[in-house]
Amino acid sequence: MIMLLRKLPWLIGTLLAVSFFTFMLVGLLPGDPAVLILGAGVSPEAIVALRLEMGLDRPLLIRYFDWLGSALTGDLGRSPMTGELVMDAILERLPVTVQLGLMAIVLALVMAIPLAMVSASFAGSKLDRVISGIGFALMSVPGFMMAIFLILIFAVTLGWFPATGWIPFSVSPLDNLLNALLPALSLAMIELAMYMRLLRTDLIDTLQQDYITLARAKGMPSWRILTRHALRPSSFSLLTVVGLQLGGVISGAIIVEEIFALPGVGRLLYQSILQRDLLMVQGIVLFIATAYVLVNFVVDLCYSLLDPRVRYAG
């Protein structure tokens, strides 16, 4: 609790800076938003009228505080292109992206933890080299390439999964999972390499500690040493990396959602950028960055909950 209070000013400061940066990034885009909305060849009077209506005649800083004020109440404006409320548009698509991201992280962990455990306990062996080699190769594959070849193998050639499309979980849970599996897998394969590499190094380090030798001397079976004694201390750094890598998952989701035609936030962002829907872009970027900062803040707090040493040192 004290930890929370101590870190709160930092969190608020970061979020303020993030919102300002987002506003400036989109606010300084070349081209008059009013002209962009109305299109070329409209009378100057109409443009001036729209500029007044959008409040574009006021100073940048005033507009920032105005925008921030309404953003805090959950109002990110209304897209002039689609007529949708930005916040509604994001919330409507959010479940897809969250499901995709969570499935990807879980899949990656489910694959990475056993592989890293095998790799670490036989460090230096042929098996370890093969596993590390696969991890190394996976790090050299762009996410979109992974997605395309998963489609090629599992959707086009084998026909096990649909290549594109999305069915909400509430309509048909099974179809939903079938549709989500390939996109989640293509995200997971990239994360997998990161998690595996880190966990392997960490485990090798942990396995050299005295208490592991003690457990061995007591005659504990090695799988039990690995799962009960070695994995837990190594899970701290894994947790941090999962939090930090969330940015990678979100970035990957933009591309993967576009390839698999999933109605998620990432695809919305991409489409909005193509259409130069500035208000929508601004809203989504703010939303994503805020979520990212908050999640990492929570990860930071979890860290101190799990490890008492951090709690008192900070």
């Binding site: 594959v141 762009p142 979109f144 086009v156 970035s251 970027v285």
Partner: protein
Amino acid sequence: MPVNKHPTIESRAQNFARALQQVFGRGFGPGFWLAVFWLVIVAFCAMFADWLPLRDPLDPVIANRLDGPLSGSLLGADGLGRDILSRLVHGARVSVVIGLTAVSIGMIVGGALGIIAGYFRGHFERALMAVLDVILAFPWLVLLLALVAFIGQSLFAISTAIGFLWIPAYARVARANTLSVVQREYVLAARAMGATTTRILVREVLPNVILPLLAYGLVAMGLVIIVESALAFLGLSVEAPQPTWGGMISEGKRHLATAVHVALIPSITIFLTVLSLNFVGDRLRSRFDVKESNL
């Protein structure tokens, strides 16, 4: 041992030879040289694309549409009948130029900021770290898409945007290394001898900080090529008709069911290039003993 204030040319040459011996002396294994060989080919293609005896990468020959490899031309043709080999070679130019420029921008700007922050500490360091935290609060593709929308899609603009993404990472490494270098006796000695701040920064700090930065450069370049290809895949890298590897995959995606090679060949090219960069970078880094924890 006498302190040699002005190293002679001979002793410098000896040092250089020793350094070379250290780096290349013991075997790297055939894999390393294979990777180097591939990178040399890619670099050669990027440099001499215009002079190589290849078909026009932009010329659509309808008769060749979706030709497989080894039928007429070495690697076949894409959905518009354009020669894939020629497009690969010309696409190499984009990847190599953006790879080099973006990493240089990140290294120079980030490195300079990091060294200054690590040396002078104080308000500047705190402000810089805060700004870097804010930049890192944006997922990379989100930031990149916004930047590209802002500064356009020319070769230089894309390089700058991707280079910008690398500034935080390089600034952090440079700062961390500077912090440890400044503690060393030779910096103290230089200061005691009355060396100016500029001289200390350039002659004492920089040479010791630049090695880890350079060692990380190749791996960074691999990541830049991945980022650029993702951007090209989304159609937001250097604009058509300039061929790019990512753009070729995007085009090949449409013919996945009928002509796999259109997407497969550029994919393999990207994979091999990034793999080679990672491999060579990793080996050099362990040879120079740059600790990963510094990054």
